[in-house]
């Protein structure tokens, strides 16, 4: 009897917590996204609440509308933010992969004695504040910043490059901040890989490059996929990087949501943006979760 209760508590306590602090808030966001904006506090008209009972709720359900979503669709600002977020996230994911794969590959090929140190060096920045790491780039990228100073001194350019407050800076920021997320899953698949597979391919007539594509790269696909999703998903909703490194022309949905909420106090539109963002991300998130579950099963 005792055993049954303790067993159940192990599940019930975190379950209830997550239901209340994770799932319920989403329901609320959805509800507000479907409500009308009214100025006041809180700045939305509650469309229905449980206290009213079923009848009233049913009646009010009829009043729910997709007005806010219509508004999102009608204003090109929102559509452009979504598209530009996806575009920026997509290209920065590819850039991160281009930088991250060779790094992961080099690490996996390193002498086994120094591999744990290299691994720690990749993880360490992850423990360091995201904000600080983004902030560090401002001093480097700005007009009179260190990068321009260096390039001018080397004589590579005559006039300082304009990087900060453009999308270029946003790309750099995303690649930089999310690089460890790309490197770690790729590294772990490459590190586990049996080197004799590459040798077998070579033995059976592959050139060095052929063996790389047919065996190494092919077997690293799960790691590459996990890495890309780990970069792409949060990058789409990124706020700090476009806000600090991007310019007024940088449109990203996380930033738009923030502006709607904090500057325009439009809670319903902010909620509608959040819902659409979630819908956009649902496919990659489900992909990621499946991969996670599969990895957990495989580890069993």
């Amino acid at each position: 009897m005792m055993r049954a209760i303790t067993n159940r508590l192990v599940i019930i306590i975190p379950y209830l917590w997550l239901l209340f602090f994770f799932l319920l808030p989403f329901m609320i966001v959805l509800r507000i996204a479907l409500s009308d904006l009214e100025y006041g506090a809180p700045p939305y008209t509650p469309q229905f609440s449980l206290a009213d009972g079923w009848n009233v709720m049913w009646e009010k359900l009829g009043q729910l509308d997709f007005e806010n979503f219509g508004f999102l669709a009608s204003d090109s600002l929102y559509i452009n933010s979504y598209l530009s977020s996806l575009q920026i996230a997509f290209f920065s994911t590819i850039l991160t992969l281009l930088l991250g794969f060779p790094l992961a590959y080099g690490m996996a090929r390193a002498p086994s004695g120094i591999r744990p140190t290299l691994l720690m060096l990749v993880i360490l920045p992850f423990w360091t504040s995201f904000l600080i790491r983004v902030y560090a780039w401002i001093g480097i990228l700005k007009q009179e910043g260190l990068l321009n100073q260096l390039l001018l001194w080397l004589g590579l350019i005559d006039t300082p490059l304009e990087i900060l407050s453009t999308n270029k800076a946003v790309y750099i920021g995303i690649v930089y901040s999310y690089l460890p997320f790309m490197v770690l899953p790729i590294y772990s698949t490459l590190e586990k890989m049996d080197e004799s597979l590459v040798e077998a391919a070579r033995d059976l007539g592959c050139t060095r490059i052929g063996a790389f594509w047919k065996v190494t790269a092919r077997l690293a696909v799960p790691g590459i996929l996990a890495g890309c999703l780990l970069v792409f998903i949060p990058a789409v909703g990124e706020f700090v990087i476009p806000d600090l490194l991007g310019g007024s022309g940088t449109l990203m949905i996380g930033k738009t949501l923030w502006t709607e909420f904090f500057n325009n106090s439009d809670w319903t539109v902010a909620s509608a943006i959040a819902i659409v963002l979630l819908v956009v991300l649902v496919v990659p998130i489900v992909l990621f979760q499946n991969a996670q579950a599969r990895a957990a099963e495989a580890g069993r």
Partner: protein, 265 residues
């Protein structure tokens, strides 16, 4: 994977790590700059650190942040460990799919969404925003990270250890406390450290859920950064980096030493 470490590999590792570390190193160097202009070196000085400790706003924010991080990390570690046990030890229960989804989703959820939704919850239940709302929000998203860290250790835990304890007369709950928990404890500790740093670093969720009188350090830094790069901020960042880095290094070294001892025995 073994083999020769070719020049190509060495180059990509060096380039990768330079990219990862150079910005941080530059930031630390310029926190010791004499000049107010952060990008022009004017000699070594620690004066910005001195000024920092005069800045009451920053000190208050730091104190709030540390309290939030301590409380939220501790609660999240307990809840996250429970969630991990539920995931690993109970392959079948009603609503497991929903549960699994709720544990993994926050790992990749854009922070703006998590922050906004939690804020709307607190408004809906009329909970005064401030220190406690930030803490509750941090518990919620960091418990998922703890769960994942502990889960991966539990999966590889040899269940026959616990069975042996039961065979020797230990009731299941005690067997878990006396055998399983001590073995997975390093994972629980790293889960706590992860939760602590996540809370320490968080800007977005705290901005949404915080209220008057509960400004955290990242919020403070952010509001100053928007106005431009200043040596004081470099100094704050340097201190934070130093704390986190030494924490991680000490943990790694202790872990290594433990492992070495295990090998010796």
């Amino acid at each position: 994977m073994t083999g020769r470490w070719s020049w190509f590999n060495i180059t990509s590792v060096v380039v990768g790590f330079t990219f990862l570390y150079l910005p941080i190193v530059l930031l630390v160097i310029f926190s010791f700059n004499e000049s107010r202009l952060v990008t022009v070196w004017a000699g070594f000085s620690t004066k910005w650190y001195g000024e920092l400790f005069q800045n009451q706003g920053i000190l208050d924010a730091a104190w709030v942040t540390i309290r939030v991080a301590l409380i939220s990390a501790s609660v999240a570690t307990v809840l996250g460990t429970l969630a991990a046990v539920a995931l690993v030890r109970f392959p079948r229960f009603n609503g497991r799919t929903v549960f699994t989804g709720m544990v993994y989703a926050p790992l990749v959820m854009p922070e703006v969404i998590t922050g906004l939704s939690l804020l709307l919850l607190f408004v809906a239940i009329n909970f005064a925003r401030g220190f406690w709302t930030v803490t509750l929000a941090h518990i919620t998203f960091s418990l998922c990270f703890v769960a994942v860290v502990v889960q991966s250790r539990l999966v590889s835990f040899d269940k026959s250890l616990e069975e042996a304890a039961q065979d020797l007369g230990c009731p299941p709950f005690q067997a878990f406390m006396k055998v399983t928990l001590p073995v997975i404890f390093p994972a629980v500790i790293s889960g706590w450290m992860l939760a602590f740093t996540l809370s320490l670093d968080d800007l977005v969720i705290a901005s949404f859920t915080s209220g008057p009188g509960a400004t955290t350090l990242p919020m403070k830094i952010y509001s100053q950064v928007r106005l431009g790069v200043t040596p004081e901020i470099n100094a704050v960042c340097t201190i934070l980096i130093a704390i986190v880095t030494s924490g991680v290094l000490i943990a790694t070294i202790l872990n290594k030493r433990r492992n070495m001892q295990h090998k010796h025995n």
